[in-house]
Amino acid sequence: MPETITLTLQVNGARRTVDTHPMARLLDVLRDGLRLTGTKEGCGEGECGACSVLLNGRVVNSCLVPALQAQDGVVVTVEGLAEGEALSPIQDAFLVHNAAQCGFCTPGMLIAADDLLRRCPNPDKEQVQAGLAGNLCRCTGYSKIVDAVRSVARQGEVR
């Protein structure tokens, strides 16, 4: 096996090239290779969703994705949600509703919520709960997260 491999991928809109271990996970490429540390590791076994990112338009647990699979892929992480200093609607809603307490689940939760709202712009409570069931949070009891997601959906309705 070669010592390192070279990956090229698009991350948060920019083309990036990075050398990494052939066995590395997408999570390692993002955190160690590209120093995008917003994406978190909560379990390393696909159970908690803290490492959620968008890969080619789908939410994945980046701790389960071999880096090689992301070759030429398009990745969006939490760092890619805001436009400069301007928060995206879902980030703003999380802030206002206190949906981020310790904040460790937040990056993954935001990616999952953003994706949910894209697929289903006006989810009801059950749809939000089901849509976020792959992302564990130990702080909030999810009530304020559900509130935050639904508040964005309702704004969409008004607009």
Binding site: R31, R35, L36, T37, G38, T39, K40, E41, G42, C43, G44, E45, E47, C48, A50, T77, V78, E79, L81, A82, L87, Q91, D92, F94, L95, V96, H97, N98, A100, Q101, C102, G103, F104, C105, T106, P107, L110, K125, V128, Q129, A130, L132, A133, G134, N135, L136, C137, R138, C139, T140, G141, Y142, S143, K144, I145, V146
Partner: protein, 750 residues
């Protein structure tokens, strides 16, 4: 200008960084040249370490290895009792299966991992002691003369003769299992050691709740004075008590490796190691004997409360104390006897977890009251109404209810919120139908003592301060840490309100023991109430200093205050004022007799749950959950509600699903695949109501809220299950589907 900052839902101070992904947690810190540390553990519940062998397969000369022989100071983690070694020495006793024996570090994680697997421990095994009953029965003696880490007795009157004459005597035994805190961020600690002019200088930073606990631990481990130890608390991804004492161990390990290697060392536990090795909620067993008169008035309580402390003392004495002090619940009772014991077993030490002993004893009494009511043919709600504490009543320690806790009002509100009576009626009809889903509703009434028990706060004499900075902002100086609960925001609100400034003029200083005073550990629902009040004093001091120094004239506006701080800075160089803990006048506590005012204050609550049980799968769905609490003045309603909802979710998890399975003294299900915590799909939207009573003690009348929500869910849920399923032995949490099935079978055969 009138500014009202307390009572406003100010947005979380550090929230922006958290939603942008830029908040830096310990594992996010870039550390060029750092080594990664690993821990080799005993893997045997009880024995003697005879030797260590290093097998071939890695370049051992590149790997830093630390054993107990490398420790410069004392090989004990500073605590209530010095009995827990940082590393087991060769020839030393092994007391549990996750005990650290040896440390390794290398720049490449893969090499360090491989090396860990190439260390062989030569151990002479001994038979272990594994649970409360074995320990109490002294099947083997592993600690002192009878395996007791701590014993507490509380007595009020004499219950014994009352039992003989009472109309009703009801007995019950209740058990609760261990629970994993499961903060989403596993433990991470970074250590560096430098050789300064006076000797070793140790710096540790990471995910930790109590900087000065770690500070004490490093002084003792390295045998150096406090000036040469620096502890920095970084952004923390949750803790819930789980990062109260164990971080001292990891910090010591990282610093020992740093000393030996001369490089910074990071130890980051993965989830499996974190779950297996670090502290959990104490398993418990509570035996209650209660006497009632013919009308259902509670006459006597005899409670035997036991906790499994694990292999070392750690925090067990104080967890036990809080459990014992909550064991009689919210009831008026003339004659009470409480015997509380924490026992030693050969399992990893238990520690702090939100609630700290109280959820265990409150589960027992709140479940027991339901059992008693049904045994006496009474409604559980009415039995509680008849017996709850009112103004002038005394608790088991003799503490007098100076104000009315308003418990009946809390019950009324909680029952209204969930529509208790209507649900009960509807369920009674529907449960008779031939439908495999049975529903029930139940409640619990409880309290949580705010702040440290008894004389704890007075002994600690915490200090906190504020600093007027030259840029015209105010910094809060306190060692209290942010773990998601909202301390950053609430402290800034309290200081802003006291100074009459907008909250964006106030910020937290970095929690670094080099700059902030010891405001005590961030535990025991004490930060808002105790530290908040100290900050109120410190802020008043700052204003007074500016006024008396001629820099500021009252009344003032924020701009004038800013100017005054700039001017004072130019003249004085630095502008800091401090406050220190002041005891509540008229409160007294005797630690020897366990008599007096156990807590300066209690928060009070009633929680109601509606559940549905599927008799095909035995799964329980929580359909509705209502919480009503009196926590004094609510400083930040949105943050406070978040605390309640999060605590309730953990309480529901403990009550229904979260089971730690031990096999030969080791956690067998130390993975998120088989240790089940609630997901978004498992919980209802949790209703939160606050009734604001005034507290003369806390800042602006605030009391503690952090732990309260952990206490009520488990008994409310099991009481609701009783309502759904009829007379079953619902005496244990978690009440998993397997347990429900077993209890139903048991009832069928009875």
């Amino acid at each position: 200008m009138e500014v009202h900052v307390i009572g406003a839902s100010t947005i979380r101070k550090e929230g922006r960084g958290k939603v942008m992904g830029s908040a830096a947690y310990a594992d996010d810190v870039d550390l060029p040249g750092c080594l990664l540390g690993m821990t080799v553990r005993s893997r045997c519940a009880r024995g003697v370490l005879k030797g260590i062998t290093f097998l071939e397969g890695v370049p051992w000369d590149e790997i830093t290895v630390v054993t107990a022989a490398d420790i410069p100071g004392k090989n004990f983690v500073a605590g209530h009792v010095d009995d827990q070694p940082f590393l087991v020495p060769v020839g030393g006793a092994i007391a549990h299966a996750e005990q650290p024996v040896l440390l390794l570090a290398h720049a490449d994680r893969a090499v360090a991992e491989k090396a860990r697997r190439l260390v062989r421990l030569d151990v002479e095994e001994l038979p272990p002691l594994l649970d409360i009953e074995e320990a109490l029965a002294c099947v083997r003696v592993i600690h002192g003369e009878r395996n007791v880490l701590k014993e507490i007795r509380i007595a009020k009157g004499d219950p014994e003769p009352v039992f003989a004459a009472a109309a009703h005597v009801v007995e019950g035994v209740y058990r609760t299992g261990a629970q994993e805190q499961l903060y989403l961020e596993p433990n991470v600690m970074i250590g560096t050691v430098e050789h300064g002019p006076a000797g070793l200088e140790v710096t540790v930073s990471g995910s930790l709740q109590c900087p000065y606990y770690v500070h004490d631990a490093m002084k003792q481990l390295f045998g150096i004075p406090g000036e040469r130890v620096r502890v920095v608390a970084l952004e923390m991804g949750g803790a819930f008590g789980g990062k109260e004492d164990y971080p001292s161990v990891i910090a010591g390990h990282a610093a020992l490796l740093a000393l030996k290697s001369g490089r910074p060392v990071k130890i980051a536990y993965d989830r499996e190691e974190d779950m297996a090795a670090t502290t959990k909620r104490h398993p418990s067993r509570t035996r209650i004997r209660s006497a009632f008169d013919a009308q259902g008035r509670l006459l006597a309580l005899d409670i035997d409360f036991a906790l499994d402390g694990g292999a070392f003392t750690t925090l067990s004495p104080v967890v036990l104390s809080r459990g014992a002090l909550h064991a009689a619940g919210v009831y008026r009772c003339p004659d009470v006897r409480i015997l509380a014991r924490a026992v030693a077993t050969n399992t990893p030490p238990c520690g702090a977890f939100r609630g700290f002993g109280a959820p265990q004893s409150l589960f027992a009494i709140e479940r027991h009251m339901d059992v008693c009511a049904r045994r006496m043919g009474m409604d559980p709600v009415e039995l509680r109404r008849l017996n709850v504490l009112r103004q002038g009543d005394t608790m088991a320690t003799g503490q007098v209810m100076r104000e009315d806790p308003g418990l009946e009002g809390l019950m009324d509100r909680a029952m209204a919120a969930i529509d208790y009576r209507a649900l009960q009626k509807a369920y009674a009809v529907r449960n008779a139908w031939d439908d495999p889903v049975k529903r029930g509703v139940g409640l619990s009434v409880f309290m949580h003592g705010c702040g440290f028990t008894g004389s704890g706060e007075a002994t600690m004499a915490s200090v906190a301060g504020v600093e007027g900075r030259p840029d015209g902002t105010v910094a809060v100086l306190a060692a209290s840490t942010e773990m998601g609960q909202g301390k950053n925001t609430v402290f800034c609100q309290i200081v802003a309100e006291t100074l009459g400034l907008p909250v964006d003029m106030v910020d937290m200083a970095e929690v670094d023991t080099k700059y902030v005073p010891n405001s005590g550990p961030t535990v025991a629902s004490r930060s808002t109430m105790v530290v908040g009040r100290i900050l109120e004093d410190a802020a008043r001091g700052l204003r007074l200093a500016l006024v008396q120094g001629g820099f500021l004239a009252e009344p003032y506006d924020p701009e004038a205050f800013r100017e005054a701080m700039r001017a004072a800075h130019l003249k004085l160089g630095s502008l800091k004022t401090y406050g220190q803990y002041r005891a509540n006048p008229g409160f007294a506590w005797d630690d020897k007799t366990y008599r007096g005012d156990a807590y300066p204050n209690f928060s009070w609550a009633c929680y109601a749950a509606a559940v549905a049980v599927d008799l095909v799968t035995f799964e329980v769905k929580v359909e509705d959950f209502a919480t009503v609490q009196e926590v004094g003045r609510v400083v930040n309603p949105t943050l406070a509600a978040g605390q309640i909802q999060g605590g309730v979710a953990q309480g529901i998890g403990w009550g229904l699903w979260e089971e730690v399975t031990f096999r030969e003294g080791r956690m067998a299900n130390n993975q998120l695949t088989n240790y089940i915590i609630p997901t978004a799909a498992d919980l209802p939207h949790i209703r939160v109501e606050f009734l604001e009573g005034g507290s003369p003690f806390g800042p602006g009348g605030a009391k503690g809220i952090g732990e309260l929500p952990m206490d009520g869910p488990a008994p409310a849920l099991l009481n609701a299950l009783r309502d759904a399923l009829g007379d079953l032995r619902l005496d244990e949490v978690p009440m998993t589907p397997e347990r429900i099935l077993n209890r139903l079978e048991e009832a069928r055969h009875a």
